[in-house]
Symmetry: C2
Subunit: 340 residues, 2 copies
Amino acid sequence: MTNPDGTVAPGALMAAEVAEQPTVLARLIAEGVDEIAAVRAHIEAYRPRFVLIAARGTSDHAALYAKYLAEVGLQLPAGLASPSTLTVYGARPDLSEVLFLAVSQSGGSPDLVGSVEAARACGALTVAVTNNPSSPLAAAAAHHVDIRAGLELAVAATKTYTAELLALYLLLCGGDADAVPDAAARTLAFGPQAYAAAERYRFTQRLVTTARGFSYPTAREAALKVMETSYLSAQAFSGADLLHGPLAMVDPDLPVIAIVTPGAGGAAMAPVVARLAESGANVLLVGPDGGLPVASAGIAEELLPILEILPLQQLAWRLALDRGGDPDRPRGLSKVTETW
Amino acid sequence: MTNPDGTVAPGALMAAEVAEQPTVLARLIAEGVDEIAAVRAHIEAYRPRFVLIAARGTSDHAALYAKYLAEVGLQLPAGLASPSTLTVYGARPDLSEVLFLAVSQSGGSPDLVGSVEAARACGALTVAVTNNPSSPLAAAAAHHVDIRAGLELAVAATKTYTAELLALYLLLCGGDADAVPDAAARTLAFGPQAYAAAERYRFTQRLVTTARGFSYPTAREAALKVMETSYLSAQAFSGADLLHGPLAMVDPDLPVIAIVTPGAGGAAMAPVVARLAESGANVLLVGPDGGLPVASAGIAEELLPILEILPLQQLAWRLALDRGGDPDRPRGLSKVTETW
């Protein structure tokens, strides 16, 4: 997609990085598994009683995924850290027996570095998951996991998100994810269906995404992706929370994307999908039986988020181009965001 | 606002409940303080190491407030519980030394009751904060705090939200909140300014709210309030997260409400307000120096959320009426939402 004059076509970077994901995931398994197992052994030896996870932006959705892995997989209570309590308010809690995970593509955000330093000083075992082993965040944490996604050039994060998810799965669950790269390739091959679905949203300013359990981070990340590439007001709700208030605004003019994949989370969406149908909402399903298929056969529920986001990345990319934008360079954003 | 034929004018219930808040807050302090101190003594004797808080809808924003209180006030790590991990996925973590707080107006949502029962069986100290001492949630928890807000009839929660905030402050911080009811009355007296501000949003379909720290729950609750009464796509962002992606969609056509009140959270909003100004956004400030004043003089930062939401409730009420809706009875919602 390089033009004859050397410029790059709009969206070419994001398209290449979306397509690269099966390779990135396979590389992380092939090259990263020993490093991750070593960090995992440190965590097991530490015997944490609680898990806190800190992140911003897209990585915050990987953090939410890690929260479900900690609670369901490790059977540990877990929370998303509010970086501001450590950095803005200077809280210094006793964090002994706490595993403090920080997730960041760049490893460069000062408030994350500050919260890891504070957590370490408070007694936590600190682990950073980043795409940059020489980042300040990697240096601040006791242990580092490199997601090995290669340089990400598009401002909208794609391959670093799925690589973060896989790294967190390997770190916290230690299971076998060998089937995931092929399943990712098979899911991406359904791309034309995602591009066709983008047609429907050409003129909407609003969108709702919803899911439950392990798929809820997918709903959050999909909403951010269309927000930052196509400037939609896209809102993500857990299926349960949607019924507590926000359902009032859902009408036939407000499109809904629901992620309903095999497993307990997808099953818990049944009453939500029924209520959406009653309200006359226009619903696009993501899942093996839905409008946007996911090659989920043989993949454990906790690994499905790595696949579910793929058609939604394709949809966000296509929609941004259809609306005349450049998903590689959303207005007002830079690749590394510094917040304090 | 009762009509001659006995019917109630649209919004009359919500208007009465918004206006009642100084009385409700004063009653909670006068009648509830001993009960709350007794539960607080149980918590202190238990010496928790970690706090988990479970809630849905409006109460979820009170839960987020409690998370900041736990982290900054109690200096304990805290997390928002994902009810689905206990109820949908059947996780059974070791919750000894964990304080498990459940916050609910009705005390009736089955998934909250289920998560309190599961947390109690897993060894947590369970405390329910509700407006109904005879609710299943109050029965399920080891201890109960009654917010004494009186029957709430409007579907959009107002007085139960501020009463939950005050109860949580008294429970977790034990400080003096005696000045709050008067400050609430003085803040509500600025109502005409909130009604005038509602004019600006008569025809928008979208809105962004933003804040940091203790005020972030205010941004979340304000967004939900306009979502459920006026069916806007209203999105709340922590000021830091706004800079990580969502800023791309902010332009002069997307109105922003920023809560900037005295204290560290408001001070941390300075760079966010500056970036919003650069992007040409239309920003309405809530705070002592803003378009929507808050009678914050002499009130500690951690108590300001009880005041900040008041002009935003007034704005949501006025906007719903202006748009031809009935904020007492949003379409598609009932007062008690049952989710599993």
